[in-house]
Amino acid sequence: MRKKPCFIWTGSFIVAAAVCALSAYALDAEFISAFDAGNKYYEKGDYASAIKEYGKIIGRDTASGNLYYNIGNCYFKKGDIGHALLYYERAKRLMPQDADLRSNYEFALSQEKAQGQMAEKPLTAKALDILFGGLTIDGLAIYLSSAWGLLIFCLSVSIFSRGARRLMPYALAVIVIMALPAAAAFQDRLAGLERDAIITAKAVDAKFEPFDSATTYFQVNQGNLVREIDEKEGWRKIRRADGKLGWVKSDSLEKI
């Protein structure tokens, strides 16, 4: 008699776990079917419908690098390079080392460059891109965490060993050299996580002040990566890669 409640508990737990697993499986199946439907539309050349199908997965707060990549392709084929670059950027956050993605991203960028100039990043940003562009934000977090662990390990060893203590300055220098640029890259990614955006409208006027009548400072073309600094009633203050600041209308850009 005393064993019964225990049995009920265990049983209900198993059932709950099974329901969870099944629903997760069903969800996955739903995503896969939407994805396949999108691919079929793409093959037929119906890019708008393909985007709609892919969008069903995104609507459920689920992301995948391949998914964003396919959506980017759809927009590219539709001739909307701004949105294509937006989705390629989103895909890049999840799979920065994908060769297909890199190739398409560069191709789309070159198409856009042919239309108008793209702001050049400063050299330091370019160097960080070369060093850590292949890592996701999680990858960078693990990298930095490992460097942190290694630092502590080295310090611990140097507490016990006199010989290790003598080598300590070199070890510390190596770790700092390895970790500092990564920390800078990580910091930049964190800052851009909620604020980096892609210009999706064509030839957007960036103004000195957030009014229609304000003087135009410079122009940003679609596909340009910008960072939002401030916001005011339908206007966003942006910083272009080359550091220029200006106000653009909120509907002319989309966050990554």
Partner: protein
């Protein structure tokens, strides 16, 4: 006094003729009557578009000195005008008067059909005239100062002068479509063509330079390169270039590279133009030009060093175009959107763990180094570690039951333990010494007494083993246990 191009030179219309006149109003043409006038004429009244015609503007001056004359400026809408050359100056008799004539001439070309008008033309200059009707006054006159100087300079005055010519009507005909050859490209005039193909003997892969010189009268600007129709399989051609252009001639050069070895013919070169004098199209053809293409030297020398081919295909172009890469066929790993590792609690805690490890390592190092360097501390620690073993040893001796041996053991264990505990050499561990130390450290007196008793019992058992029974040994064991337990729990 006639000095048409006096001291001053002819001035281009763009520059302002400097006024040396003391009077502001300019002299009117009518005032001068037939002393100075200007005419404009063309050699043809009816022309075709782009046909060359000569415009002449003549300035007649009679008995007058004129200088700082500008080049004629005139309305020439619908005409292409070249700059005037240096004007001719000659005497001429008109209406029974002798004139100095300054003749400007330039070729002009109508650029559109219709009834067009040239001119009127305008020339600016400065006239030096003698004060004809001036009466010489005495030096006592009111305006004496002025007159003195006027007389001194001979009584001459200079006036700015603007002369205007007649206008000329010209009828411009369009170039007729009838009989226009295929090779016609817009040239108007009368031309001759000279073509040279150099060199006539070349090696395969070397270029032949085709030099084409067009000479003649007409609007040379309308002459384009003569046409050559080559077979693309036999020759590779480049765009012709204008290498020299003068007023009546134009030289084009075109590079042609034969593609095949052996004797070849560079085909005919044709130039078509419209001859306005005969009102018909004409085509001049030159050529064909025979050349001989020899075996390429480069090719031969390469063959010497070349290894025999092993059926390798000639290199073909691998990349034909550029487009995006095709979509992915699988969804791949899905992740919840906008969730990152660094935001997870366990990841943050993981970052703190190494700090604890470092703290632990620090403490451990301190401990081991004290064990190494501080003997009394090390012995104390050893004593604590041995305390349990000691009690067990005594218990084992107890179970063996041998009275004398038991006390021997108890003594050894205590000597060992207390020696470590208080950092004493084995010989120094006596009841008195220990009691004194315990008293110093404010230990429980009862325990101290027990310890002293144990030592006393041990001594007794050693010297008088007869009075030992199991009851006593058990009691002693309990006391030993109690004492060690107590010593382990107080801070010494």
């Amino acid at each position: 006094m006639v000095d048409v191009l006096g001291e001053g030179s002819v001035v281009r219309p763009s520059s302002q003729a400097p006024s040396q006149a003391p009077y502001t109003q300019s002299q009117n043409q009518s005032d001068l009557g037939d002393k100075a006038y200007m005419t404009m004429e063309v050699d043809k009244k009816t022309v075709f578009v782009n046909e060359s015609m000569t415009l002449k503007i003549k300035l007649y001056v009679h008995n007058l000195s004129m200088r700082d004359i500008t080049y004629p400026d005139f309305n020439h809408e619908g005409f292409s005008v070249t700059e005037f050359g240096k004007p001719d100056q000659k005497p001429e008799v008109q209406h029974g008067m002798s004139y100095e004539v300054l003749e400007f001439s330039a070729p002009i070309f109508p650029v559109k059909p219709g009834d067009l008008k040239i001119g009127p033309a305008e020339i600016k200059g400065t006239v030096i005239a003698q004060m004809a009707n001036r009466v010489k006054r005495s030096i006592f006159d009111e305006d004496a100062d002025q007159d003195v100087f006027s007389d001194f300079f001979g009584g001459f005055q200079s006036f700015p002068l603007t002369l205007t010519s007649n206008a000329v009507d010209v009828k411009v005909l369009p170039i007729p479509d009838a009989g226009k050859p295929d090779t016609y490209q817009g040239a108007v005039g009368t031309y001759s063509l000279d073509v040279q193909a150099q060199p006539s003997k070349i090696k395969l892969g070397d270029p032949v330079n085709l030099k084409m010189t067009v000479k003649g009268s007409g609007n040379i600007n309308t002459v384009t390169a003569p046409l050559i129709s080559v077979n693309e399989d036999e020759f590779k051609t480049y765009e012709p270039q204008v290498t020299k252009q003068e007023n009546d001639s134009k030289t084009f050069e075109q590079v042609i590279i034969p593609k095949k070895q052996g004797p070849a013919l560079i085909p005919k070169v044709a130039l078509s133009y419209f001859d306005p004098s005969s009102r018909s199209y004409k085509t001049i053809e030159k050529g064909p030009f025979p050349i001989e293409v020899l075996k390429s030297e480069v090719d031969q020398s390469m063959k010497v060093v070349e290894t025999p081919k092993t059926g390798a295909e000639p290199e073909t172009q691998e990349v034909f175009g550029r487009d995006i890469i095709y979509i992915k066929s699988s969804l791949g790993r899905t992740v919840p959107a906008g969730k990152y590792l660094f935001q997870k609690g366990w990841f943050i805690i993981l970052q703190i763990i190494p700090v604890f490890m470092l703290g632990l390592a620090f403490v451990a190092e301190r401990y081991t180094s004290r064990l190494r360097t501080d003997i009394s501390y090390a012995r104390g620690v050893r004593a604590s570690r041995k305390a349990r073993q000691s009690v067990q040893k005594v218990q084992r001796a107890l179970s063996q039951g041998a009275g004398g041996k038991f006390y021997d053991n108890v003594f050894k264990v205590l000597q060992d333990y207390l020696g470590d505990k208080f950092n004493l050499p084995p010989g120094a561990v006596t009841a008195d010494v220990i009691a004194g130390l315990l008293k110093e450290k404010n230990a429980d007196e009862l325990v101290t007494k027990k310890l002293v008793d144990i030592f006393a019992e041990c001594d007794m058992a050693r010297y008088a083993p007869a009075g030992i029974d199991s009851q006593k040994t058990r009691q002693t064991f309990e006391s030993v246990k109690e004492v060690i337990d107590y010593l382990e729990h107080i801070r010494i």
